[in-house]
C-alpha cells in the first residue's frame, strides 16, 4: 500500500517549504482540494461531484491580458471534448462580478464561470500566477499545472486531456 494521501500531501508541503518553493497544496500528483463555488448563472458547483470526469480548472480575471487571450482556446477545447467526458471550469477572481459577467459574455465563454470573489479558492490552491490552469484526472488528482499562458499552451492542454480521457 502506498503512502496515504494525507501524509503524501504533508510530505510535499514539508519538502517544498524546505526548498523555498510555493506551498505545494496543488503539487502535481496530490488530490485537488475540494471547493464549492457560486456559478454565474446557475446553481452552485462542487468539484468533488465531477469525480469520474476529467476536469480542467482555469483561474482567470478580466484585468489579466493573457487570461483573455487564452479564453477562445479554452472554448474550443471545451467544445471538442465535452461529449468525451471533459468538464471545463473557469474560476473568475474579479472583485466586480458584473464586470466579470460582461467580459465573459463578450468572450463567449461556453463553460461554467465560477466566482471566487473573496479569493478563498485561489488561496486554497496557492496560485502564484495568473492565469493558472490545472488538469485533474478522473480520480480527482491534479496531474498537470500550467502557470501563466504562452502561445502553444492550448496544444499541451489538448494532448493532456486526451491522455487523461483514455485512462
Amino acid at each position: 500500500m502506498t503512502i496515504p494521501s494525507t501524509l503524501r500531501v504533508l510530505l510535499a508541503l514539508v519538502l517544498s517549504a524546505a526548498a523555498g518553493l510555493a506551498s505545494a497544496v496543488t503539487a502535481v500528483g496530490s488530490p485537488a482540494p475540494d471547493f464549492t463555488l457560486r456559478v454565474l448563472d446557475g446553481p452552485n458547483l462542487r468539484l468533488q461531484e465531477q469525480r469520474g470526469k476529467v476536469v480542467l480548472v482555469n483561474f482567470w480575471a478580466t484585468w489579466c491580458g493573457p487570461c483573455r487571450k487564452e479564453m477562445p482556446h479554452l472554448n474550443r477545447i471545451a467544445d471538442k471534448y465535452r461529449s468525451s467526458g471533459l468538464v471545463m471550469l473557469g474560476i473568475n477572481v474579479d472583485d466586480d462580478v458584473r464586470n466579470a459577467a460582461d467580459v465573459a459574455a463578450k468572450l463567449g465563454v461556453k463553460f461554467p464561470v465560477l466566482l471566487d470573489t473573496d479569493k478563498k479558492v485561489s488561496k486554497l490552491y496557492d496560485l502564484n500566477s495568473m492565469p493558472s490552469t490545472l488538469v485533474i484526472d478522473r480520480s480527482g488528482r491534479v496531474r498537470y499545472l500550467h502557470r501563466g499562458y504562452q502561445d502553444g499552451y492550448e496544444d499541451l492542454y489538448d494532448k493532456q486531456i486526451r491522455d487523461l480521457l483514455k485512462e
Binding site: A61, T62, W63, P66, N99, K106, N128, S129, G148
Partner: protein
C-alpha cells in the same frame, strides 16, 4: 509586474488588463489604441499649439507597432525674442515610430524619433528593456537613447551638430495590493553645439553672443509612490533630484490625487513644484570675463509652481472589446526668476503659463 517607470512599459487600463504584474512568466503588450489630441501652450509671450496623433496596433501577439505625429505651431514673442529681435512664427513637425516585442516576461521596445523645424533637426533612436522579476512584483528597466541634432540659423542655414546619449535605469516595486513605488535614474550626456545661435548674453550692460560649453553631463534620480487610499481614490507623490556638470541643481516635487466618479468619470488633480539653481556660467549681467557666458533663463535660478487638473470621460465602453474616452487637461504654471531681469521693466522676471490638452482615445 509592469508599470510605467523609467519607461516604455505602458500601463494598462481596466480594459487592457495589460498589468503584466498580474502574471508570472508573461509580460503583456500595450493595448491597441488611437489618440487624437489638440495641445496648446501659452506663456511669456510664446504660443505653441497644434495637433498630435498616436496609433498603436498589435501584430502577431508578440509585437506591438506604434506611430505618432506631432505638430507644434509656434508663435514666438517671448522676452528673449522681443528684446533682441522681432516676433516670428514657425512650425515644428515630429514623428515617432516604435516596436514593442515581448519575450516571456521581458518587453523590448525600440523607437525612433525625428523632429524638424526650419533651423533645427533632431533624430534619435532608443531601446528600452523591461524585465519582470520576483514573481512579477518587481520590474527592472534599462534604456538607452542616442540622438543626433543638426543646428542651424535661419540666415546661414545648418552650421553645427549636437549629439546626445541617455542612459536609464529603473525599478518598480509592488508594495501591497494597493501601493506601488518606483525609483528611476537617468544620465544624459551632450556633445556639440548646446545653446541657441540667436540668444545673447550680457556683460557690463552690453550684449555679446552667448558661449556655452560643448559638453554637458547630467544625472537625475526620481522616486515615486502611488497608492489607493480608498476605493476609487488614489494619491501619488514624486520627487526628482537633478544635477549636472554645468552646476545646475534642481528639485522637482509633485503631488497628485485621482478619483473615479461613477463608472465613467476620472479626475486627477496635481501640484508640481520646481526649483533650480543656476548654471555656473550663467549671469544676468556679467561683471567679469569668463570662458563661458550665458543669459539663457532656462539655466538661471528660478522656481515654478504648477497646478493642474485632468478629466477623463468614458463615452462608450464595450467590455472586453473597446473603450472611447474623451479627455481634457489644463495646467497653470507660474515662473519666478531670481536672477533674470525683465529688461523692459527692470524687475526680476516672472510670468504665467497655461497648458491645455484636449484629446480623444479609442482603446481596443
Amino acid at each position: 509586474m509592469r508599470r510605467k517607470h523609467s519607461h516604455t512599459v505602458r500601463a494598462a487600463g481596466l480594459l487592457g488588463g495589460a498589468l503584466a504584474g498580474g502574471v508570472a512568466d508573461a509580460a503583456t503588450l500595450p493595448d491597441d489604441r488611437a489618440d487624437v489630441m489638440f495641445h496648446a501652450y501659452e506663456g511669456g509671450g510664446l504660443r505653441a499649439s497644434g495637433p498630435a496623433i498616436l496609433v498603436r496596433k498589435k501584430l502577431a501577439d508578440t509585437v506591438s507597432l506604434s506611430g505618432s505625429y506631432y505638430v507644434d505651431m509656434v508663435s514666438n514673442a517671448s522676452i528673449d525674442v522681443v528684446t533682441t529681435a522681432s516676433p516670428y512664427k514657425e512650425t515644428r513637425n515630429e514623428y515617432n515610430l516604435g516596436v514593442d516585442y515581448v519575450v516571456r516576461d521581458a518587453t523590448v521596445s525600440v523607437t525612433t524619433s525625428h523632429s524638424k523645424e526650419p533651423d533645427y533637426i533632431a533624430a534619435s533612436t532608443s531601446i528600452d528593456v523591461a524585465q519582470e522579476v520576483f514573481g512579477g512584483m518587481t520590474t527592472l528597466t534599462l534604456g538607452y537613447t542616442r540622438g543626433n541634432d543638426q543646428v542651424g540659423r535661419k540666415d546661414i542655414g545648418f552650421f553645427d551638430t549636437a549629439t546626445h546619449w541617455r542612459y536609464r535605469l529603473g525599478m518598480t516595486q509592488i508594495l501591497s495590493p494597493t501601493w506601488l513605488a518606483s525609483a528611476n535614474m537617468e544620465a544624459v550626456s551632450d556633445d556639440g553645439f548646446l545653446g541657441s545661435p540667436y540668444r545673447v548674453a550680457r556683460i557690463f550692460g552690453s550684449t555679446v553672443p552667448e558661449s556655452n560649453p560643448r559638453t554637458r553631463t547630467s544625472r537625475a534620480v526620481k522616486f515615486r509612490v502611488i497608492g489607493e487610499v480608498a476605493a476609487g481614490n488614489a494619491v501619488r507623490a514624486e520627487y526628482r533630484y537633478f544635477w549636472d556638470t554645468w552646476g545646475v541643481k534642481a528639485h522637482t516635487a509633485e503631488f497628485g490625487y485621482a478619483r473615479n466618479f461613477s463608472d465613467l468619470w476620472l479626475v486627477d488633480w496635481y501640484g508640481r513644484f520646481y526649483t533650480q539653481q543656476r548654471a555656473l556660467f550663467y549671469s544676468d549681467n556679467a561683471t567679469a570675463e569668463t570662458t563661458y557666458l550665458s543669459r539663457n533663463r532656462q539655466l538661471s535660478t528660478f522656481k515654478t509652481t504648477g497646478l493642474g487638473a485632468k478629466v477623463s470621460y468614458t463615452a462608450k465602453r464595450v467590455p472586453g472589446s473597446y473603450e472611447i474616452k474623451l479627455n481634457g487637461a489644463y495646467e497653470l504654471v507660474r515662473f519666478k526668476f531670481a536672477d533674470f531681469t525683465d529688461i523692459r521693466s527692470g524687475k526680476a522676471y516672472e510670468f504665467d503659463a497655461r497648458v491645455l490638452q484636449l484629446f480623444m482615445s479609442v482603446i481596443f
